[in-house]
């Protein structure tokens, strides 16, 4: 496809407006404590119905990218991560802020995010096509097993308790089977509710499990700490010499993030800690980590930005998301009429290249907005939490209704809000639930196709080395989950200090 066509589409006013809006909203959402990109995108999913697919995708991915930086603003300003993966930034970011250099702390975070974002976009450009060619070479049996593998990996590795993670994934799988079966026309778990004939509606589930529990938490939890250490005037900036001094940990963080982001289950809150420790181990002054050293800011921030980009590669080409936010973005793609998976590059290469080119612009927009507006966003953390909760609630309900103009969806949102709250509070994994719901269709369609081709022989799932090894890895991860549970059982009771 011609690059000029892509450039023409990207520089069209609605596309530019979408990516700029995504960037502004993303920084704001990221800067609000506890409201991560998954919740933000979940709240704004109804916009998919009113935007062109490429515009919708650019809006959400720009939002995701900007929210990753926004999360560091809260971490540096008030020592509260905007999202769990910003936790590693607190150690040195907040310390540098307290040492009287908030502008430098934000500057290091911003530069690392911009560097890693451009590297990540380059990686996406280079890998999107080869990954899609590999995906096209896979057969139905391999795809079905790949879905199972992703689900078990995310279930066992992303959840704080592997057994609960697996249970959440299976619950998501079960939910994905609700509706009319397209092959046999059988009604499965529909309970004669017309609202369920097409399956469990994705948007109300996403909004319900991600956003509504946040409303309850905001109403019940403690008020966020006021921003301290931030002077009235400071400049978000680092010099070229300062940037050169942290180039090594920035590159390290980028590479670690990009590689781990490709692996389902390992792209949650783990990568920034991996790169933080790796940066510490290669540093000439490891003793300075935790006291406000710039290396401790750039490594996890570069990782977060790189993970965000690389996790979209398996999400787009295989339909396997590695983070909760990429799972929500897959949901947004489906709502916008794009089917993630091996055929995406063949059928909608224009959309993918428009996205990647648009991301180059939205990264520049993030850089400019980060330099000019970080001071403003740093103060949004003091928004009254009950006002925030009420506003999120309004957006949840309006969003849930707008999707299909159906009151049933509002009820579903409320129901899944309660389900999501209890599951999360009891240690179950919401990302696994969503992944199960999204991957259920892929797993079932491909498994049944493979079984039809093999005349009902389950040996088809072991016939190729790829599917056999993925299946073995899935079984091993389940055994690992059970082993962890046994080991937990052997541990002494938890002391109050553990909490």
């Amino acid at each position: 496809m011609s690059p000029w066509v892509v450039l023409h589409a990207v520089f069209a006013l609605p596309t530019l407006a979408a990516l700029l809006a995504g960037t502004v909203v993303g920084i704001f959402i990221g800067a609000l404590p506890g409201i991560g990109p998954a919740v933000g995108i979940g709240l704004l999913l109804p916009l998919s119905y009113f935007l062109r697919p490429a515009e919708a995708l650019l809006f959400y991915v720009s939002l995701y990218q900007a929210a990753e930086y926004g999360g560091s603003i809260t971490a540096i300003a008030v020592s509260t991560p905007g999202a769990p993966n910003s936790a590693a930034t607190i150690l040195d970011g907040y310390a540098l802020n307290r040492a009287g250099a908030p502008g430098k702390a934000f500057g290091y975070s911003l530069w690392a995010a911009i560097f890693a974002s451009y590297a990540g976009i380059l990686g996406m450009f280079l890998l999107a096509q080869p990954a899609s060619i590999v995906a096209l070479a896979l057969g139905s049996a391999e795809f079905a097993v790949l879905g199972v593998f992703a689900l078990t990996m995310v279930g066992t590795l992303s959840a704080s308790a592997p057994l609960e993670g697996l249970l959440s994934g299976l619950f998501g799988l079960l939910l994905s089977t609700v509706g009319t079966d397209l092959i046999t026309n059988a009604h499965r778990y529909t309970f004669d509710q017309p609202g369920l004939f097409d399956g469990v509606p994705l948007l109300p589930v996403l909004v319900g499990v991600f956003a509504l529990p946040q409303v309850v938490r905001l109403l019940s939890g403690p008020a966020p700490a006021p921003a301290t250490g931030l002077g009235n005037r400071y400049r978000v900036w680092i010099s070229r010499r300062e940037f050169r001094a942290v180039l090594r940990p920035t590159v390290l963080g980028t590479v670690v993030g990009f590689v781990l982001g490709l692996l389902p289950g390992l792209s949650g809150s783990v990568p920034p800690w991996v790169s933080y420790n790796a940066a510490k181990s290669i540093s000439r002054h490891p003793e300075r980590f935790g006291t406000g050293t710039p290396e401790g800011i750039v490594a996890p921030e570069a990782t977060n930005a790189a993970v965000m980009h690389s996790t979209l590669i398996p999400a787009f080409t295989l339909g396997v998301p590695g983070t909760p936010t990429s799972a929500v973005i897959l949901g947004a793609m489906m709502i916008a009429g794009l089917q993630p998976g091996p055929l995406l590059m063949r059928q909608h290469a224009d959309v993918v290249y428009e996205l990647l080119t648009g991301l180059l612009i939205s990264t520049a927009a993030l850089w400019i907005m980060g330099l000019l507006t970080t001071q403003i966003w740093a103060r949004t953390v003091s928004l009254p939490r009950h006002v925030l909760a009420a506003s999120i609630f309004v957006l949840c309900m309006v969003g849930a209704y707008t999707a299909r103009s159906n009151v049933f969806d509002v009820w579903m949102t409320l129901l899944f809000g309660a389900v999501g709250y209890f599951m999360d509070a009891l240690g179950y994994s919401i990302p696994s639930l969503i992944l199960g719901l999204i991957l259920g269709g892929v797993i079932e369609t491909n498994a049944r196709q493979a079984l039809i081709i093999s005349h009902g022989s389950f040996g088809v799932f072991l016939s190729s080395p790829i599917s056999a090894s993925l299946l073995a890895a899935s079984v091993l991860s389940i055994l690992y989950a059970l082993r962890i549970r046994r080991r937990e059982q052997g541990r002494p009771p938890i002391s109050p200090g553990d909490a």
Binding site: F50, A159, S160, L163, E164, L167, L170, L173, L174, T177, D181, I183, T184, A186, R188, Y189, L212, R217, L219, S220, P384, H386, A389, A390, S391, F393, V394, L395, M397, V398, Y401, T402, S405, V407, V410, W411, L414, A418, Y421, F422, M423, D424, A425, L426, G427, G436, G440, I443, E444, R448, Q449, L451, I452, G456, R485, Q489, P493, I494, P496, D498
Partner: protein
């Protein structure tokens, strides 16, 4: 600080959650009998795998009691059930009274009820203005018609 005394209700809640999963899995498995078996493993294939897995893992969870390390520290107390009651009441009343009125009422109630003081009134007005902006954007720009009850 969360001591062992405070962990007990949460431990019980987690055990109850495993029991709920076992019951859910069993009920879902029982339903699969009517799904048919033609077409590549049949309509019942994935529901059986999922419900069977839920039952097995739920039983493992019940047999090997969980430690509280995994659970988050979000409230599981009376205040939570009060909030859930608001939302349930909203779900019931909304079709009768009207989407916009009920949503505004609950949003303002949350702001006033949890804010307190003179500032709460100002914040409630700001919240009502926010709802009005959302309403105008969705009805005018996106042509969404929100359901009416006795009121808009």
């Amino acid at each position: 600080m969360i001591g062992r005394e405070d962990e007990r209700p949460r431990q019980i809640a987690r055990r109850v959650s495993f029991a709920v999963f076992v019951i859910l899995g069993a009920a879902a498995w029982e339903q699969t009998a009517g799904f048919g078996s033609s077409g590549g493993g049949g309509s019942a294939l994935l529901p059986r795998v999922a419900s069977g897995g839920i039952m097995v893992l739920g039983l493992v969870g019940l047999a090997v009691p969980p430690r509280d390390r995994a659970a988050r520290r979000w409230p599981l107390d009376r205040s939570l059930f009060i909030h859930l009651a608001y939302f349930a009441a909203y779900g019931i009343l909304m079709p009768e009274i009207g989407f916009v009125t009920t949503t505004v009422a609950l949003a303002v109630a949350l702001v006033v009820g949890f804010g307190g003081g003179v500032r709460a009134i100002r914040l409630a007005i700001a919240e009502a203005a926010f709802v009005a902006v959302v309403y105008v954007v969705f009805t005018r720009l996106f042509q969404v018609q929100f359901p009416r009850g006795l009121l808009p």
